[in-house]
Amino acid sequence: MTTVHFPALGLILLFPALGFLFNLFYGARWGRRWVNVVGPGVIFAAFAVVFVSFIRLLTLPAGSVLTVTLWRWIQAGPFHANFTLQMDALSALMTLIVTGVGALIHVYSVGYMAHDDDFARFFAYLNLFELSMLILVLADNLVLMFMGWEGVGLCSYLLISFWYTNPAFAYAGRKAFVANRVGDAGFLLGMFTIVATLGSHGSWTLNFGGIQSHLALFTTQTATIATLLLLVGATGKSAQIPLYVWLPDAMAGPTPVSALIHAATMVTAGVYMIARLHFLFALAPTTMELVATIGAVTAIYAGSIALVQPDIKKVLAYSTISQLGYMFLGVGVGAFTAGVFHLMTHAFFKALLFLCAGSVMHSLDGEQDMFKMGGLRSKIPITYATMLIATLAISALPPFAGFFSKDQILESVYNSGHHGLWILGIITAAMTSFYMFRLIFLTFYGESRVEEAKAHHIHESPSVMTTPLIILAVLSIIGGWIGLPEHVLWGNKLSAFLAPSVGEFTPIMHGSALMLTAVSLSLALLGIIAAWYFYLVAPGMPYLIAYQLKAGYNLLLNKYYVDELYNLIITRPLFWLSTLVLGRVIDAFIIDGIVDGAGLMVETGGQLSRRIETGNVQQYAFVYVLGVLAIVAYYLYLVTH
């Protein structure tokens, strides 16, 4: 493994940083034309640098790392963390996704935000997000990674509540922020555990390389504690049980934000972190089991909710949670390359799905209820075609991107001996194709159910929005081809590329791959057929089933009442505690009492002591004489004793 000094990595951060500053301070003043160029332009520039770095990395032997130390950052006794960027295979792939997909979404946003007056603030936030995300994936130590981790959380909050005049949107932003804080606390504690464990043996480091070379200092117990705490952070950021609740509400933000942050990039940070620290997680089998279980349960749980949601973005939100569950499942069974592979293909097709949903909403004046759509196929053909491709990709049909990655995950799960989790996985696969084709059929097929007022000006989005759709559609088709199964054509290039960064996956048994593929594929087809039957052939069926299984339907429609449960056991008691105990007693009584009391004491003291100032010069002189006498008396006393 060679480490190559590569200062150009700094440019990757510089461009979005400049874009952020420009849009923040000059965007509104210089106007839309400048913002529309600078906003996406800096991301394209960053992408170009990433691409050059990637090519440079490819020319080096496998396992090489590009690195640059921008400045010395934290120096505390024996501990130090530098602002050092590193690009290995995993970071390279992540930066390519973050800047590549990010650039396309920036372009799309130019069209999407064309009628919003706050475009400059929007692009400033998007650029800041790109900057934070790039710090996150390029950091060479946990502290710097945490900075990016917090940065993306902040941008997520800012962008979810972008339309802050709507109280519900502002609330959604707060919810995301608070849920992420819970996870971030776990991340911090995990970091502390690592530095304490290593530090107690005299190795004060949080560099990934440093942790990896001192793995022997971890016992199974300390590794388990550290990874469990980091897992809390991952579930927060990547919207897994139990901290997933913020992601569906995060759809309050503008749709490009949902595509970029809450589908393609930020929410995969948890998966990235686990893959980045794979050597540490490998020491803690308990945590790995938990990661896989959380992933599988989240996948099927969120998938089941997505089956009945009427809101097009909510379906995609739960679908995202479900697909992130797949990634967790993959990395949880040790198939890090498969998990990261799915991360990549998911970034393509889920970003595309969200952008298509945005395009649909754009053409319908912001309508999100799928039961008020229908028959849009011929009216917005490009959106329809690209969304269909993305749907085929997420439904894991060959040769679309999702097929290869999801198949690899399921195969790895089965081969690692987790048959129960594998069954959850394939059921989720059936659900995925069902709810996605339900979305397609409800939106684009059948009779038009569009409201009269909106029906007459349905229009295809401008080319600035459709071009990114087409590019992402191409990626959703061919994106999976770099990770073909072993021995098929050029085989799994991606796995070979990533292996030095995240370790090779060695399944326990071989040979059943074709059989497994056939099972998951047939279930996916079953889902499609069911959706076709329910929503095109017999549109009355869903209502009948919903009526027959009212309890189950309501359970799903209301998302298992988890929001209500959290409200009851966490939010309400906290609220009660803050209002009554902390607010009325501690704040209003004790703290206000101290503050007001201090003021009152000074005022009363002043009122009393001002009476001394009579203005009568003879009184002053009298006191003065008394003072002189006192001093004389004192000296007389000293002399006589």
């Binding site: 001002r610 009476r611 100032e613 009579t614 203005g615 009568n616 010069v617 003879q618 002189a621 009298f622 004489v625």
Partner: protein, 102 residues
């Protein structure tokens, strides 16, 4: 030649000083208060020359000249202030001059 003992001179000085202090504290007329201050100054002067003579040193005598100079300046400024006050307020009663208070 009859010499007066230093104790008598110091006692005289103390008596004049006490009269001055009493005058400042008790009398309401600021002119009288002003004159009482002069009394105190001269009481101190007397104490200075007495002690200078007793010590056989010129220092005390020199200081007296300074005191007299300063007293002259003080008399000029002080009288000017009193006249100015009287022009404005038409009174020299200290009890009626209590503007600087709460």
């Amino acid at each position: 030649m009859m010499t007066v003992s230093y104790s008598w001179l110091m006692a005289l000085s103390a008596a004049i000083f006490t009269i001055g202090v009493a005058g400042v504290l008790i009398r309401r007329n600021i002119f009288v208060m002003f004159m009482s201050i002069e009394l105190m100054l001269n009481a101190v002067n007397l104490a200075f020359v007495t002690m200078a003579r007793r010590m056989g040193s010129m220092d005390g005598q020199v200081i007296v000249f300074f005191v007299m100079t300063v007293a002259a300046a003080e008399a000029a400024v002080g009288l000017a202030i009193i006249i100015s006050i009287f022009r404005n307020r038409e009174t020299v009663n200290a009890d009626e001059l209590k503007l600087m208070r709460w």
